[in-house]
């Protein structure tokens, strides 16, 4: 991993201690990866015989069934749309809000910052009823926009961006201002490029969260063609009760894209971000 460099080489260890850590690591890896491997095995297993048991054979039928009987085509498209919009909007709106909070002085700045951050203490699970009411009132019930809108910015995102902007030296901005650039221009062409790694991390967090979310889309979506993948899978849990392997094939389908993305983008998951995230 890219962050290897920030772990200092540890002094020579006695063999016994090394062995202990190898065993601990191995157990943890089995715990972390084992269930996922088992899921994949079952998803490729041919029908018939005792369910859930280890048998030979390989088939793609379960995936075909998930696609046709399960109707996962639209949910996949919807999930991609929702996830992409939520991540893009979160980065955009959070970075906009963080800029004056980090780099301008105006009356009430600190109060506004605290108030925005305070919304982090309001759990989504507690306010689903009024949020649902608002969405219905806006005429957005059963639309993808309803899934995106309330989460198009997060207080955590604002916090993260503000931290990154604070670290940019004054002079850089000063130079651009001398050249006559106005605030929006400076934000776009100076501040954003310099904080690209943080913005990428925020995007990655948003993608992971949005791709996984079940509760809110379950509440505001009704039409099967509008379902996101998690909602569709919940629905299939009952609908495909007789063809469980197809359900698991569907689960594999919703696991693969996020794993690919994670493998490509893992360098943005530095330990320091997590130190910040618990402070936020």
């Amino acid at each position: 991993m890219s962050a290897d460099a920030d772990i200092p080489m540890v002094e020579r260890r006695p063999l016994g201690l090394k062995l202990v850590w190898y065993v601990v690591s191995l157990l943890l890896v089995i715990l972390a990866v084992g269930p996922a491997i088992w899921l994949v095995v079952i998803a490729f297993q041919p029908a018939g015989g005792e369910l859930y048991s280890l048998r030979g054979g390989f088939t793609l039928d379960n995936f075909k069934d998930a696609w046709t009987q399960g109707g996962l085509a639209w949910p996949i498209v919807n999930s991609i749309l929702v996830t992409f919009s939520r991540a893009a909007l979160n980065v955009l709106i959070a970075a906009l809000a963080a800029y004056p909070l980090a780099r301008m002085s105006f009356r009430g700045r600190d109060v506004i910052f605290v108030l925005l951050l305070a919304t982090m203490m309001i759990p989504e699970q507690v306010i689903v009823v009024p949020m649902f009411r608002m969405i219905v009132g806006m005429g957005l019930y059963d639309t993808l926009l309803a899934v995106v809108l309330p989460f198009s910015v997060t207080a955590f995102g604002i916090y993260l961006c503000r931290q990154a902007f604070l670290a940019i030296p004054e002079e850089v901005e000063e130079a651009a201002r001398m050249d006559g650039a106005h605030a929006l221009r400076i934000w776009w062409s100076v501040i954003l490029p310099l904080s690209a790694p943080t913005l990428a991390t925020l995007a990655l967090f948003s993608v992971i969260g949005a791709w996984s979310e079940l509760l809110w889309p379950l509440i505001v979506l009704q039409d099967q063609d509008k379902f996101t993948l998690p909602v569709a899978l919940t629905n299939l849990q009952s609908a495909l009760a007789t063809n469980v392997r197809a359900l698991y094939a569907g689960a594999v389908l919703s696991l693969v894209p996020i794993l690919v993305l994670f493998a490509l983008a893992q360098k943005f998951l530095k330990a320091e971000i997590f130190a910040g995230s618990v402070k936020g």
Binding site: E11, I122, R133, M134, A271
Partner: protein
Amino acid sequence: MTPLLFLAPAALVLGTFFAGALAQVVALSFTRYTAFRGPEWVGLENYRRLLVSERFWQCLLNSALYLLVTPVIIVLSLLAAMAVEAKLRGMSWLRLALFLPVVTPTIVAALMWRLLYSEESGLLNTALQSVGLGPINWLSERPWTLISAAIVTLWKGFGFFMMVFLAALLSVPRELKEAASLDGASRAQVFWNVTFPSIRPAIALVFVISSISALKVFEELFVTIKGAGIAHQTVVPLVYQVAFEEGNYGMASAIGITLFVIILGFSLVQLRLSARGERA
């Protein structure tokens, strides 16, 4: 004027959907409000009925039991962080493997564990029976239902807290550890007298954050032990059922407020811990 323009989109979204919704949920908790009738003021009636509602107390008790996830996840993630920090030869992919559950959508995690829990022929019961134990009714008998869901929460969450602890471990000054070993301290002594005190703030924060997420848990129960009945669920699934399956929005709001007050207690502790961390 400019700062406010930058802040407007974020303030609008968070103000409407979080602050506004919180104000509404408070008001709605004092009303009789169902899918068929608009809100009508009834004072404390919902809360009075909650006090004598058997399933409410059952779910609240289950939520309290679910908090036991926290100590287990702290031990597991600290162990993982130390394994990753030990940085053994050939184990550079360890962190990646242990982070896999974090990016796995919760619904997929729940489905893959459900596969292992299957009572007739799941891998867990098959293994237990081969050594003369079980079978265990993972999906239908208390307290196993709660344990089954809690294992999914543990599995999905420990990689995240591992990164938090890794950040804390990496910030322990090496000189301190070296000085202690030079003075003849054993490895265990170095851990308890140098490392542990330095990461104690991180442990305290993880304790609070993990407790808050345990109180907000939904998907692990809703999907993993689907069909077990409301007596096996915690407070958030109860909110979902009362609001969106029974259409009793007023009552669901009152349950939500009760949960919010409990979570708020934990949030205030978190705030104090974070403030102390910033000063240090």
